[in-house]
C-alpha cells in the first residue's frame, strides 16, 4: 500500500488491495500453511501458529524499524550490532540492580543513540549508508565485547522477574511481544500515511534533491529514520532479553540480512520511495512460516536456506511484476 494510493486515488479499493504486495505475501503464507497442514497436521494447531507468530516478532519489529530507512533510500546493516549493544546495555544496567524502568530507558537511549550516530554520519558527512552502517556493524559488535568484557549476564537484580515477565510473558493468551509488533505496525502505518514525517520520508526516497529544494529538512528526517530504526532495535532487545533471560554479546549476529530480507519481501524497494509498515511484519512472518513448515514437514534442515532464498527471489519478482502493472 503506497502512501499515495491511500486517499482519493482513481483506483478502486479492491484494485488497490489486489495490487498490494502484502496481499500476495499473506496469500503465500496461507497457501504454504494449507499445503503443510496436509503433510503435518500439527502445523495448524494453535500452539504452533502462536510459536510462528512469536518467533517472527523479533525480526518483524526490527523490520518495522528498517522500513523508514529503506523508504528514505538508505539501508541499515548495523541493526544486528545495535541489537547487541542494546542487549548488553540492558544487561549491564539491570545487573547493577537498577529498576526495570531505568534499564528500559537506558536501552532505548542506546538504540536511539546508535541510530542517530549512523544517521548523522550519513546525513552530514554524506557517506553512503551501506558503508557507514557496515563500519558501525563492526564497531558495535566490538564495543559490545569491550563493554561486557565478554561476560554473559544471567542476573538482573531486582528487575529479574519483571523483565522476564515482560519479554516472555503472555497477556490475554498472546505473548507480549506480539502486541509490540502489532502496535509497531499500527504506529508506523499511521506515521507513514498520516504524518508529515512519513510524507517526507517518501519524498526523500523518491527524489532527494527535490525534497531539499522543497525546504524539507532532509538531514534531520534521515537522522530520525535511523534513530527510529535504532529505537525499534532497542525495543526488540528488551523483549528478546526478557524472553531469553540472558544477554550474550553475540546476540543478533547476522540478523541484518534477515531483517532486510523481511522488509524487501514485504514490498519495500532498496532504491527508496516505497515500503509499508504492514509489509515488514508480514515479510517476517513468511520467513518464519517457511522455517517452521519445513521443520514440521520433516525436510532436512540443511535445505532450509534454499527455500528461504527462493522465496526471497519469488517475492521480489512478484513485486516487480506488480509494479509494472501498477
Amino acid at each position: 500500500m503506497e502512501i499515495d494510493l491511500l486517499k482519493g486515488s482513481s483506483r478502486t479499493l479492491l484494485n488497490r488491495v489486489l495490487l498490494a504486495q502484502e496481499t500476495w505475501i499473506a496469500l503465500a503464507i496461507l497457501v504454504l500453511g494449507l499445503v503443510v497442514s496436509m503433510i503435518a497436521p500439527k502445523f495448524a494447531t494453535s500452539g504452533n501458529l502462536l510459536n510462528i507468530f512469536q518467533n517472527a516478532c523479533f525480526i518483524g519489529i526490527m523490520a518495522i524499524g528498517m522500513t523508514p530507512v529503506i523508504i528514505s533510500g538508505g539501508i541499515d546493516i548495523s541493526v544486528g550490532s545495535i541489537l547487541g549493544m542494546c542487549g548488553v546495555t540492558l544487561g549491564i544496567v539491570l545487573n547493577a540492580d537498577m529498576p526495570l524502568v531505568v534499564g528500559i530507558a537506558a536501552t532505548l537511549a542506546m538504540g536511539v543513540l546508535c541510530g542517530t550516530v549512523n544517521g548523522a554520519i550519513i546525513a552530514y558527512v554524506k557517506l553512503p549508508p551501506f558503508i557507514v552502517t557496515l563500519a558501525t556493524l563492526s564497531i558495535g559488535r566490538s564495543l559490545a565485547l569491550v563493554l561486557t568484557n565478554n561476560q554473559v549476564f544471567y542476573e538482573f537484580g531486582r528487575a529479574s522477574e519483571s523483565i522476564v515477565a515482560l519479554g516472555g510473558g503472555y497477556t490475554f493468551g498472546l505473548p507480549n511481544v506480539v502486541y509490540a509488533l502489532v502496535v509497531g505496525v499500527i504506529v508506523l502505518h499511521f506515521l507513514l500515511t498520516m504524518s508529515r514525517w512519513g510524507r517526507y520520508l517518501f519524498a526523500i526516497g523518491g527524489n532527494e534533491p527535490a525534497a531539499r529544494l522543497s525546504g524539507i529538512p532532509v538531514d534531520l528526517i534521515k537522522i530520525s529514520a535511523y534513530a527510529f530504526s535504532g529505537f525499534m532495535v532497542a525495543v526488540t532487545a528488551i523483549f528478546l532479553v526478557g524472553w531469553l533471560g540472558a544477554v550474550t554479546n553475540s546476540i543478533g549476529t547476522g540478523y541484518e540480512l534477515q531483517v532486510i530480507a523481511s522488509t524487501v519481501i514485504g514490498g519495500a524497494s532498496l532504491t527508496g520511495g516505497f515500503g509499508s509498515a504492514l509489509g515488514a511484519g508480514i515479510g517476517a512472518i513468511l520467513v518464519e512460516t517457511i522455517r517452521n513448515a519445513l521443520l514440521l514437514a520433516g525436510v532436512n534442515p540443511f535445505w532450509q536456506g534454499t527455500f528461504v532464498g527462493c522465496f526471497i527471489l519469488a517475492a521480489v519478482l512478484l513485486e516487480r511484476i506488480r509494479s509494472v502493472r501498477r
Binding site: N51, V152, W243, L244, N249, S250, F302
Partner: protein, 309 residues
C-alpha cells in the same frame, strides 16, 4: 507406537554435530521403537535454537535432549516441557546450576575440568613461562569455562578464586594480543596460529580449547614445522582440544603434544538411552560423564579417537 526423541543442538554447521547425530541415530536404531529427531540452527543463533526447542515442546515429542546455547532461555523451555510431562536431559552444554532441577541429567563433559586437563598437560612439561590461549566465539559459555579452567590451573588457584588474564601468577603470563578468538572461522584460526608463532618466538605453551586451527591441517603444519626442534625438545608445549580426524595425523607427527577429545558420539547415544529410561518411568544419574580422551603422538594413529570418529 514409535517414540520421537528430539535432540536440539546449538549449531548444525560444526564438526561436533555429525558424531552427535550418528550417536543419536545409532541408539534409536538399537532401541528399535525410537525415532531420533536431530535439529538445530544451521548457523549459530541462540534465539533460533530456543525457538526450535519450543517448537519441539509444542509438537509434543516423547523426550527432549538439549544443548543449551543460551542456558537461561533454555531453562524456560525446559520448564514448559516439564509442565507438559516431557522428560528433558541436557547434553554437551548444561543449564546454570540453579536450573539443574529442570533436567533429569547432564550428559557430557565438564568444561571447566576440560580446561584444567588441558592446563595440566602444559604443567607436566613447563612450570612457568608464556602461554597463548586460542578460543572460538568469545561469547560461548563452554569455551569460556575451558579458558577459565586453564588460567586457574596455570595460576595455581581454585575455581572460586578465578583469575582474569595471566600476568605473572605462578610464573605464567599471556603475551600481548592473546588470547586469540577466531569466531569459529578456520582460516582465521590457522592464520592466528602462524601469527602468534611468528611474533612470539619464545612462547612456552600454546593451548587451543578447540580444534579449529587443526581443521586446517596443512596450514597448521606449515606454521608449526619450522618450530619442530622446539616442539621435540618440549621447549614449546602445544595442547589442543578435540581429537577429530584431521587432527590426529598432526599429533602423530609431533606438531602438538596432546589432543584432549570429547566424545560427541557418546553424548548423542547416551542422551537417547537416558530419554528411553526416563520415558519408561526410570531414573538416571544426575551427571553422566561421557568423559574425555587424552591422545598422545604415540597412540594417535592407533587406539585414540576411534570413538569420536
Amino acid at each position: 507406537e514409535e517414540r520421537e526423541f528430539a535432540l536440539v543442538f546449538k549449531v548444525l554447521n560444526n564438526a561436533f554435530s555429525p558424531p552427535i547425530q550418528a550417536g543419536c541415530e545409532a541408539a534409536a536404531k538399537k532401541l528399535g521403537d525410537v525415532k531420533c529427531t536431530y535439529i538445530g540452527p544451521t548457523e549459530y543463533d541462540e534465539a533460533k535454537e530456543v525457538q526450535l526447542a519450543q517448537d519441539m515442546v509444542t509438537r509434543g515429542v516423547a523426550g527432549l535432549g538439549i544443548s543449551a546455547g543460551n542456558p537461561k532461555a533454555m531453562a524456560r523451555i525446559m520448564k514448559m516441557a516439564k509442565e507438559k510431562g516431557i522428560p528433558v536431559v541436557t547434553y554437551d552444554t548444561d543449564v546454570l546450576p540453579e536450573d539443574a532441577g529442570l533436567r533429569s541429567t547432564y550428559i557430557g563433559t565438564d568444561n571447566y575440568e576440560f580446561g584444567v586437563a588441558l592446563a595440566q598437560k602444559v604443567l607436566a612439561h613447563k612450570k612457568n613461562g608464556t602461554v597463548c590461549i586460542q578460543s572460538g566465539a568469545p561469547a560461548s559459555e563452554n569455551l569460556k569455562a575451558r579458558v577459565q579452567g586453564i588460567r586457574d590451573t596455570l595460576a595455581g588457584v581454585t575455581k572460586d578464586k578465578g583469575v582474569e588474564t595471566l600476568t605473572g601468577q605462578n610464573g605464567w603470563t599471556e603475551p600481548a594480543g592473546c588470547p586469540v578468538y577466531n569466531n569459529d572461522d578456520i582460516t582465521l584460526a590457522a592464520q592466528q596460529v602462524r601469527d602468534v608463532m611468528t611474533n612470539n618466538p619464545e612462547l612456552s605453551a600454546f593451548v587451543a580449547v578447540g580444534g579449529w586451527a587443526q581443521y586446517a591441517p596443512e596450514a597448521y603444519k606449515q606454521a608449526m614445522t619450522p618450530l619442530k626442534a622446539r616442539l621435540d625438545s618440549k621447549d614449546l608445549v602445544v595442547v589442543f582440544g578435540d581429537n577429530f580426524g584431521p587432527q590426529l595425523p598432526l599429533l602423530a607427527a609431533g606438531l602438538s603434544h596432546y589432543n584432549i577429545g570429547q566424545r560427541p558420539y557418546d553424548m548423542g547415544f547416551e542422551t537417547i538411552m537416558a530419554l528411553d529410561k526416563l520415558s519408561k518411568g526410570g531414573t538416571v544419574e544426575p551427571f553422566i560423564k561421557t568423559g574425555t580422551e587424552i591422545c598422545t603422538p604415540e597412540d594417535a594413529l592407533t587406539t585414540c579417537g576411534k570413538v569420536a570418529n
